[in-house]
Symmetry: C4
Subunit: 311 residues, 4 copies
């Protein structure tokens, strides 16, 4: 790789010892963990924003149940005189009365069929009503943040291909927008990460940018096949599948675009390792034309390839 | 088009078979449909954000009615002992009592003139009150997202004109800001999409960027006439109306600007097909000067043209 | 102005007839009105976001009063049997009872001391409670939008000065950040708008960009004096105060910066007309150094100048 | 510094008298105070957004308490007939009844065990319920703004080092992302601020940009060591620790990056003074490789250095 572009560190490390996992996971996260992270309110919030919907809703339900159980326990501990009901026991035990009174208070529904008597119960209810409002304010923000985050939008072909290109070869992957909204000014960066032994026998990661035939498209309405020509200036020039395996090659990808419906810049990371590269294949079109003239994009075919017999 | 700028794919496709609809619809969407889209919570939310106001409000009202009907049916199914009223039947039937109790609970208004008795009714009401708060949190986010989206802001002339320009011709369209806020750093891109048969007789779309006399204006306070000079370097050089029809010419337009009151970048797509081009015409001013010195922009005249007799 | 930079239209118009007001008002708005604007929900919302606080709060209070009066009138029209009170007339007349019941419903406070009887009153109350929630969702969004808008942040010197610069002159204005947060990557653009008669005796606006000594500062922590050197390449070269008046000169200014605490790009427009230019003066420092070593910026002195006796 | 890059003012001032504190504090704020700031609603809001969590929550609790005390005082002043309880004195004194009624109203919980009688109490309660909704809308916006602000994200090494670099020296600092989310397109700017006496013996601040070996990394997943080579073109060429002290050298730093989970541009300022520079040292790696192949970044070691014996 003597005459290849100089290596640089794109923000991961070059020096390391021992085997490493892939640099970028399939969800765009990095295989990096942090120690010494102070617990930050913002981090917790971000965690809640990033959860899957079933987990998020489960957590909300659990928190709702737990908070009411805790308050119910305190109301119940204040004794039977702390809560007065307008209708005997309402068909419920003492704890259940306390629990549902807590619900009425936390949600501010406040029917008034149960109400607090005496100082301690009233103070507690005043605190719970305030807490309920703040908790609900938090939930509003969380829901909004979850929905207004343009995540998981791009779909990548499951493999890269090495396809004929002019008289040589090229390295390609294909993306599409999973959603119906439009991405504009979509831009791609591709980097090759390899592992080599330095002169002292230590392993070093090398990072080289891979030049693209086209770095940017105006809009991503259908699919975009991003192409790196493996010409003489490429660090992949003359490399074989065996070479890439020996170098533990991983292709790091960064896609940026402007999301029209979120009016935000969207940023996606992805990577392919050497074993996810298909040699001598081409992507086949992932769309059909409907009789009425619409183009129908089939997301399931985004990674569809056909092999190429020879150059 | 031998010496014209090279063709490239701006994110639509080049290869296709059979007749195609226009690439970009008048609302800025593309004539592309997706198959295999997993239902994403975010997509549903985006759909609600993108609905027209009457449809959105209708949907909210319908959801409010339906949810209350469902809860009312369950409360009613629990039997007459599940809900106690302070005042006989309140002039209502059993189902109506259950329905309005559901309303009191979902909205957290909780008058207390009806209240739940026994475990099942209380649990259901606790669930409904929590659901009401989450639903309302969702509505808050949706309303905010709907209002804070800078959409439908630009108005385009209904046709392009081919107007005299220096000693030759130019292709022009005109835009204005429909709202009173100000767009700054407004930038335009224009592309020509044509359809041609390749050497094997297959149809191919060609995309060529059209150079603009001015790509950017500092602010869009009045109107902006975007001009592509049809000089020798233009793929439109020497073309006639018949040529454009044969080539199924469609001019794709991308406008970006910074919206001052939303403090966001705004991005609009538009297109004109060959039949929306008026040959040998000029745009006439779309504004008057009021006696007090104000400029009065008449949005209805944004597409007003006068024909030009000869070059 | 023969060898001066070519004129261009920055988004206002060149052609006009009759006297015109200044192009940009002191609040950054343009002297342009729109005719044929369809009433857009978004525009109304933007209007509410842009109102001053006293007007906004007044409008909210008025809407609250009006909506309750309307609902009260309908409840009252349903007759005395529509609303039942737990406590006689509660010391109020029929209409007042209806009014306060409406308040209890719209705000979802729902004490239950008044509650609806019969179908019509219950349906109306169900509608009002839903409306109250939507109205409150709207208010939440409006308050958030109002607060999270980084407006009115820059303060401009009230006049420009023409100050000595090297062996010649320069046109200068000064800005500061009115708030305690920090603006970074602040960038300025300056344009000269003049009015001249063309060969057919028609008035035309000319727009020329004025080159700046420094277009950008890393951060705006104190003041920034933006300087246009009036050298030979400047359209102001050799001009006198009388020239500028005759040309109805207006200097249009566009400032962009990144607001650290709103994490948004901020965009401010301003303009100075010929009568707001002070010839042969300099800005005097607008800050002092406190004994403890802090720099104290005095916003009242942002426009402070001292006159220069001679070149 | 004769052949060094020309000095410029990055937005602080050059002219000053007397001793000055450091330009940029460790929290990224500037040592600048403002006089003549009109109290702006937005500034107050920003202040609330910027408070620490304990202070913010304390303030919210205090406001909740105070508002209820004020309303309670007015209800109590209206006399015992203004509020009716369904249950004698509910085990409370008159003022306590008024206080808890205020809570029920402000939070819209409205049990109805206490309710207002007569015009004055009803009007006051209607006002308080409206106020409660607006206050809660404000709290929702504040919570959202607090959480969605990508602050305090970067961690800087506590000192800069002057480390061997090729055959010479370089000035370095190191940063890492404190959170688990990913920053992309991270860009750094470094400036040297020195104080020198001008020809008239007045002190002047000089600002010179320091060129970086690499201005930008694609993503900040681990650590980034930002390096200024102290070569012949550097204003630090040949300088000693004593020189930097005499010049009161302060290195101003501006880092920008795109935050993937907030989908926002993040902007951080930092500075090091001469006494925070360690001569002849290197940063030691701040990460280990876990047995499973993860990289484990230890934030506590971000500033870890080892001294270098000689060049």
């Amino acid at each position: 790789m003597a005459s290849a572009p100089t290596s640089f560190d794109p923000g991961l490390t070059q020096q390391y010892t021992g085997p490493l996992l892939r640099a970028i996971n399939k969800d765009g996260s990095f295989n990096v963990r942090r120690r010494g992270v102070r617990s930050l309110a913002g981090s917790f919030y971000q965690h809640l924003v990033g959860l899957s919907w079933p987990r998020f809703l489960g957590l909300v339900a659990l928190a709702y149940l737990l908070i009411n159980l805790i308050f119910a326990a305190i109301y119940a501990a204040l004794g039977p005189g702390a809560l007065r009901t307008v209708d005997g026991h309402m068909g419920l035990g003492d704890f259940a009365v306390a629990f549902f009174f807590s619900v009425h208070t936390l949600t501010t529904v406040g029917y008034g069929d149960v109400y607090p008597l005496g100082m301690p119960a009233n103070i507690l209810a005043a605190f719970e009503a305030g807490l309920g409002l703040m908790g609900f304010a938090l939930a509003t923000g969380l829901l909004f943040a979850r929905f207004s985050r343009p995540n998981a939008q791009l779909i990548f072909s499951d493999r890269m291909v090495i396809a004929p290109y002019g008289t040589g070869l090229s390295l390609q992957f294909r993306i599409a927008n999973r959603r119906h909204n439009v991405l504009t000014d979509v831009q791609a960066d591709m980097m090759l990460m390899t592992v080599e032994q330095d002169s002292q026998g230590k392993l070093r990661r090398n990072f080289v940018e891979l030049k693209l035939e086209r770095k940017k498209v105006f809009f991503l309405a259908l699919t975009w096949t991003v192409v790196h020509p493996m010409d003489e200036s490429s660090p992949l020039w003359g490399k074989t599948a065996a070479d890439l395996e020996r170098l533990q090659a991983e292709v790091l990808i960064l896609i940026r675009g402007y999301d029209d419906s979120f009016t935000q810049v969207v940023n996606t990371r992805y990577s392919y390792r050497w074993e996810e590269i298909e040699w001598l294949a081409r992507f086949t079109p992932a769309f059909d034309v409907a009789p009425e003239g619409h183009i129908v994009l089939d997301l399931a075919r985004i990674g569809a390839t056909s092999s190429v017999r020879e150059l």
